[in-house]
């Protein structure tokens, strides 16, 4: 027996990710308002480099759930903005290690504050136990489709 609890009229918003789109748009607006000249997608790459500088493009693919061409172009654009630098690995010359510039390190605190602000806006009035349950469900959805 299928456990699909969605009436047809509700199917749409789940597939199209109405909520996460709204969150991303709000965060992008905060970046723009703060004069930060980066996209959410670029931020998502920096986000993982702040956690671990010098990881490879392939590792960025895994971390950000993007394919290789997407990461190639995001790194291209981040390089143009002088936020990262590609450094060919000594051991294995196929691999590019991506390193943050000083300029990118400066962005971390400010953008993380804006991201936390955005989540507080989004989750205003939602009890924390519901937030936790929702996170678990979304993780389960992701795992089911992996």
């Amino acid at each position: 027996m299928p456990n699909n609890q969605f009436k047809k009229g509700e199917l749409y918003s789940f597939v199209t990710g109405k909520a996460s789109t709204a969150i991303a748009r709000r965060l992008q607006k905060k970046f723009n308002a703060a004069g930060l000249n980066i996209t959410i997608e670029q931020w998502s790459v920096l986000y993982h480099l702040w956690k671990e500088d010098g990881i490879s493009q392939q590792e960025l693919c895994n971390a950000t759930f993007r394919d290789k061409p997407s990461i190639t172009r995001l790194v291209d654009n981040l390089e143009k903005l002088q936020l990262v630098k590609r450094v060919a690995s000594e051991n294995d010359r196929r691999i590019n290690r991506i390193h943050l510039t000083k300029q990118a390190l400066k962005l971390q605190e400010q953008t993380m504050t804006l991201a936390e602000e955005t989540l507080n806006d989004a989750l205003d009035g939602v009890p924390s136990n519901q937030i936790n349950l929702c996170k678990e469900v979304l993780q389960r959805v992701y795992d089911n489709l992996k």
Copy 2:
């Protein structure tokens, strides 16, 4: 006191909509496997036209949470595929009413079945009360940012 329950490490997946992206990719693959030559975004426009044929581009903007240029281009591409036709309104000639073709009507049943299948895949093993709660939280997030 903020109710942000997200540790920094979890911030990312909420902003980037990992789960909804996975759902959309899975559905796109099902479309491709079935030989259906449409994108998820095109399907989302057809979805609203199946509910009410002949609505305007502006109404499609509201229904799909997209801006006007996005709908202009989606309708362009759907017209090229001969799935819809723009018909200038008699009363108000600024308005295009978008009408489904016979070909598009045929797609409804098949794509809706695939979409329901996808949601069943995604929600496998998630109890229905948790699904309902999750839907409420995501709706609340959307409303908070609207």
